[in-house]
Amino acid sequence: MNGTTTKPMFTVWRALLAVIFLAGAYATYLRFVVGWSAATNLSDAQPWGVWVGLATLCGVGLSAGGFTVAAAVYLLGMERYRPIARAAVLIAYLGYLSVCVGYAYELGLPWLAWHAFIYWNPHSVLFDVCFCILAYTTVLTIEFAPVIVEKLKWTGFRDKFLHWHHRLATAVVLAGVLLSSMHQSFLGGLFLIFKGKIYPLWYTPYLTTMFYLSAIPAGLAMVVITLYLCNRSLKTKVDPEIIKEVAWVISPMLIINLVWRMVDLIKHGGGAYLFLRRPETAYFWIEIALFIVIPVVMFNTRWIMKRPEGIYWSSAVVIMGFITNRINVSINSLERATQAGYVPKWPEMAVTVMLVTCAVLAFRYAVLYLDVLPRRAVPERARRWLANAGIAANA
């Protein structure tokens, strides 16, 4: 790839890519041509599976870094993080695009999805989620557009676009932060109406808060591992200090999550279920261990944080824990009530993996051919809030 001379044509990674896309294509064929039972293990008892639990809940949740970093840089003036803002926005953009594509698989009648535009039911949380996701995807398109437009050769259009974009940017970012905060919470709100079906360890009237609070550290962890991987294999030059600082924010947020979660559990009667001998108890503690306890320990261990791989792996554990949380809420918590015995069929996973792969590939090429991340090291500046005397404000 990228035109170097001595690289072999065949590598393990390319073979893996081929397998992923072949499997994904076959799974797509199964889903749209053969039928639901060939492609999924969904049933009347378990109408939602990993396409909701993984593709949607995690896809949106792990995109939370987009609005967090955008808010920090564009609204709160943390200029220091401007070099990673575009990457964070791109992660979110690709995340949302893959959620939108994933819905083509998840919906029974995807060719009628436009009904959501003309038949409104504002009492439905899903309607609000859908509305916010579409609106925020539009916002992300606008936020990311200059990265592509600035490469265009039509200078007249380009300059006019960038001029107007710059004037509107703050409003767009503000709308984006509000929209994404809203539906990160609403994704949890989706599960409120399953009250009575959801195991008490995951049911709280504040599922909205749980989803919002957990999405932020997970989204930031996603930003961290992306930046690390870009530095390592795409030769970008993101200041390791910046990556470290983003990682530093994650640990206190995880602790906030833990405290909130425990207080909420005890307040809403889940405390009695913490130590029963049931599979749910194990799922719960695995989630707490992966999402909170292990990462917090790792983030606060000096010799782990000293090296970039340490930061990378700590963040990776956060993401694993986050995925466990979403799978627990959307699938495992319902098992006792529905007795569905749901385990995803391979095409469900193949489609999900293919979507993630597409997003990763798109990110890779964006970094290689667009100005998403700095390609040469920026000389060390004073480490100060509003560093460089507002020169960036002039940009």
């Binding site: 109406i193 009250k195 020169i391």
Partner: protein, 260 residues
Amino acid sequence: MSAKKALLIDITKCIGCQTCSSACKEAHGIPGDPEPHLSATAFNAVREQDGHYIRKMCMHCEQPACASACLVGALRKTEFGPVIYDKKKCIGCRYCMMACPQSVPRYEWSKLAPYMKKCDMCYERVSQGKPTACAEACPVQATIFGDRDEILHEARKRIVEDPKYVPHIYGEREFGGASMFFISDVEFEKLGFVIPKDDEPLPEVSKAALDEAPTVVLVGGTLLAGLYWITNRRKQVLLAEAQGKTIKFPMTHDDAEDRS
């Protein structure tokens, strides 16, 4: 057709003959024999438990979770009782199936253009003034059809007059009330009925969360806009100072220091 209609199912009277299931299939134009469980081709099922026969079908809740969940509003509670489904609107998200506390809706998993299927309380028959097919067909009057008030009155009368009944009308208050009422001589819990912790209608639960949204957006929006204004102002001041006056550089502005 303004009075609300309802069904009363007296579990003590049901003999498990499956006539209601056959009548249901006939009324909906579905071929085949009665099925033991609800399916995309069976909107009514009769199962046996401990010598009792229990019908299962849509409860036609007064405040249906499915209708509040449906993002395109394909499900709707009609004024005279039935919760009906407009398949022309449906996009197949299956949130109704997840939301239903009784897990009633079924999906046509075998089709490539699947729709949701459930009991419609014989909407067309009822709107013509006829009883539901199941009530009409029942040979022992275990299921009776009528105005909701009268049906509830009848249920109470039976419970008061005969001590064998458990003093509980299932469906009167569960999930905010329904249009299907069950009376029985055994506790409903033992017959596998869904027993909610409280009688709060499920749409209220999500409504409570949705109602908070405008406040959160307004407060959050104002806060963020305010923070932006402050930081932007600081930036401009710094910029002006850096350009206008010859200020010492690298600048050591106290304000800039405190949040580093």
